[in-house]
Symmetry: C2
């Protein structure tokens, strides 16, 4: 009973190479053309697509002597595949930035939430505009980011929180919001009117550890409502908090960036909070006076969403 994952996901889903190949076939319109584009031979492509079709039990491409086009099901599958490949691209640029050496052209420091959920997308977009730019990434809390930027060991920093560290200029690039979320079975999930700030403050919650940006904002917001109760769990990562909440341990408080997917699929339910604001600004920061230039400026302009 429970989660006996009989056959792992990796055996039911084609590997990334096959998904990439499918996208290439969709784009190019032929197996052999797609194979050329990926640097493999035509029989290899043929065999991979065929293996994929038998594994899924669905015909994906209509083969003809003058090319291959997607079937209706193939088009659907291709779009799902595209989402996997895009997530893999985000993984790639993130990991590459993480590994980046000291001599990288653009050194970025970012808070955990921003590094996890926003930066990969920005870096993909940046790569689209300036393909040559090598990026390195250092992730840490606001104090660490501020230190790296002040010491000129990072060209641009991204922080979340209420105040801007001393000695830094900043611009608000987005508004983030903390959300209270519970598993669907939790009593709060049925309360359409949500909870009052005072009740939230009095309830043991699943939280990030003291010192995290998330925790600071929550402390400040609930100070007027009597201050935070003893936490139910204090965990070191966003992920740990999320899985504790998913398993029904209790209400958690996380950035809406972190729980967006879970809310969308209804694995977690947002609980509205009345009586206090849980918004916080996401800011780009740089040493006072030293306006970002070059690649840092390019990245900055990418991050500024239209109002």
């Amino acid at each position: 009973m429970g989660n006996e994952e009989v056959v792992p996901l990796a055996h039911r889903v084609p590997d990334l190479g096959a998904l990439e190949l499918l996208l290439a076939v969709a784009r190019v319109g032929s197996l052999s053309g797609a194979a050329r584009g990926l640097g493999i031979t035509q029989p290899a492509a043929s065999s991979r697509i065929r293996a994929m079709e038998t594994r899924l039990g669905v015909a994906l491409v209509d083969r003809s002597p003058r090319g291959s086009t997607l079937t209706a099901e193939g088009a659907l599958v291709t779009d799902w595949a595209r989402r996997v490949v895009e997530a893999a691209e985000a993984f790639d640029v993130g990991a590459q930035a993480l590994r980046g050496r000291r001599d990288s052209r653009l050194r970025v420091a970012a808070s955990m939430t921003i590094a996890e959920y926003l930066l990969p997308g920005w870096l993909i977009a940046l790569r689209g505009q300036r393909p040559g730019t090598a990026v390195s990434l250092h992730a840490g809390n606001s104090a660490i980011v501020a230190g790296l930027v002040l010491a000129h060991e990072a060209d641009l920093g991204f922080v979340e929180g209420l105040s801007v560290p001393e000695g830094l200029d900043s611009v608000v690039i987005a508004q983030d919001r903390l959300v209270v979320a519970v598993a669907p079975g939790h009593p709060w999930a049925r309360r359409s009117r949500g909870v009052e700030a005072a009740e939230l403050a009095a309830t043991p919650l699943i939280l990030r550890e003291r010192g995290s940006g998330t925790r600071q904002v929550l402390d400040a917001a609930l100070a007027a409502a009597g201050g935070l109760a003893q936490p139910l769990l204090e965990l070191a990562s966003t992920t740990a908090v999320k899985s504790a909440a998913l398993s029904g341990a209790g209400p958690c408080v996380l950035s809406e960036l972190a729980v967006g997917d879970e809310l969308g699929s209804r694995r977690l339910v947002e609980v509205p909070v009345a009586g206090t604001g849980l918004a916080r600004a996401l800011r780009a920061v740089w040493p006072t006076g030293a306006r970002p230039a070059g690649p840092a400026r390019d990245l900055l302009s990418l991050t500024r969403r239209p109002a």
Copy 2:
């Protein structure tokens, strides 16, 4: 010059099995425990994680005699990995539903946009609640969905569009919105005030083919503004429209569900449209009088977002 993808993505990103393993290590707290959970041996897990670390050039886990915990970088990488795995899960449930046979317990018919972007998430959530439910999926335009539902060949249908087909009851499950989007280099990208309906109507656009739900809504919305100009391109799939717009061919009009990622990463820019509404309702439909019951009811309740 251009897109010489020297080394394909699949060689720079660990395969799904490795990513799943990393998630298991994060969850369980030890390599051998994770290995047990996935049905492989401990040396295999050790070797895979190590290979991943050397490939990424980053230490992911701190090994100790009493278990393994993620490093700070490892936590970041794990979260990126989670997004890939979740996309793969969506692929899996989608593909599985697509293959579903006639005797499946729950037969769903959905329009393309809903099947592509929303249904996988719902099915994952449904699997969480009712793990045993086998789902089959048929994707097509509104008329096809209506036909399947009326003929009782589908237990539940999902359509987008302005009107509800005859003989069906419906409930609005979400609001969708068509957005006009251009590549960042396009002149419209800099117009913060957007375009008037009349100008949009007079401009050749990249569109889905006539008969698609997207096209119908656009036709209706711009009828008052003089009707649609001759399209710049008429393409058969959402994907094709998107890539044409991405390559700078011109403005496209698509569901916000379809271009959400591109807008987020700024690879496409939304152009506001004044003077007309491009909203459309997404509806669940069933034969008049025959309220959904059983699994269909479960799925329906999952899709209804809180107001």
